[in-house]
């Protein structure tokens, strides 16, 4: 089955990005396709290449980049939300791309299910 996932909150402050990541991993393990992960609102902060969490904590951004590389995931950051919050190509982590909100709608159309994670 084709899933799409939308994330509305940034890393660490809320569990949204953690839950979404573990959901995606489980879906992939079950042989489903993740059509797209869309980062909206504060969710765009998951794409910052400059994050550096403490050694003993999970690295949320790096984890998304790795999952994207392993499974050719399409991680899309909403351009308008990103500009408001200071995420641009120059601090965009590997595996993410910046694009328009239409990518969320398109994912909703093309995927069999769209699951949102937020506050």
């Amino acid at each position: 089955m084709k899933f799409a996932v939308s994330i509305n909150e940034g890393p660490y402050q809320h569990q949204a990005s953690d839950s979404a990541y573990l959901f995606c991993k489980a879906a992939l393990e079950k042989g489903h396709e993740i059509r797209r992960v869309f980062f909206y609102n504060d969710g765009v902060n998951n794409a910052s290449s400059l994050t550096e969490p403490p050694q003993d904590d999970r690295n949320i951004v790096a984890r998304w980049s790795k999952l994207a590389e392993e499974h050719k995931l399409d991680l899309v950051v909403c351009v308008a939300a990103a500009l408001r919050r200071g995420i641009r190509d120059e601090n965009l982590a590997a595996g993410f791309r910046i694009s328009g909100l239409g990518q969320l709608v398109e994912a909703g159309i093309e995927a069999d299910r769209l699951v949102t994670f937020g506050d």
Binding site: L101, G102, V105, G108, E110, T116, G118
Partner: protein, 123 residues
Amino acid sequence: MSEGAIKKFMFVNRKAPYGTIYALESLEVVLITAAFDQDVSLVFMDDGVFQLKKGQQTKGIENKNFSPTYRALDGYDIEKLYVEAEALAARGLTEDDLLVDVTVMSRAELGKLMDEMDVVLSF
């Protein structure tokens, strides 16, 4: 890309405006979804009904008043606006307080409508 597929999208607005950005961002997605020629329904329940309140004046909080956009939805052929009757009543509001024409529904009717959707986005 969408190969002409039309899906039923519902946007569930449950939060008051200005305290958080969700009401504004919901409007953005709604407009884009309409541009993709999808079937768009907006639901206002809980504090989300406050988004439609007439007379918003944001100068004092130095923020942008985005409520006129609700009046513009009609121009984008977005006409399915549903408001929870119980939510209005619990907030001392009536249809006359709202910026736009809406269909007031009971919670039971809203629940039924929700079931018929393909994609439900909550803000």
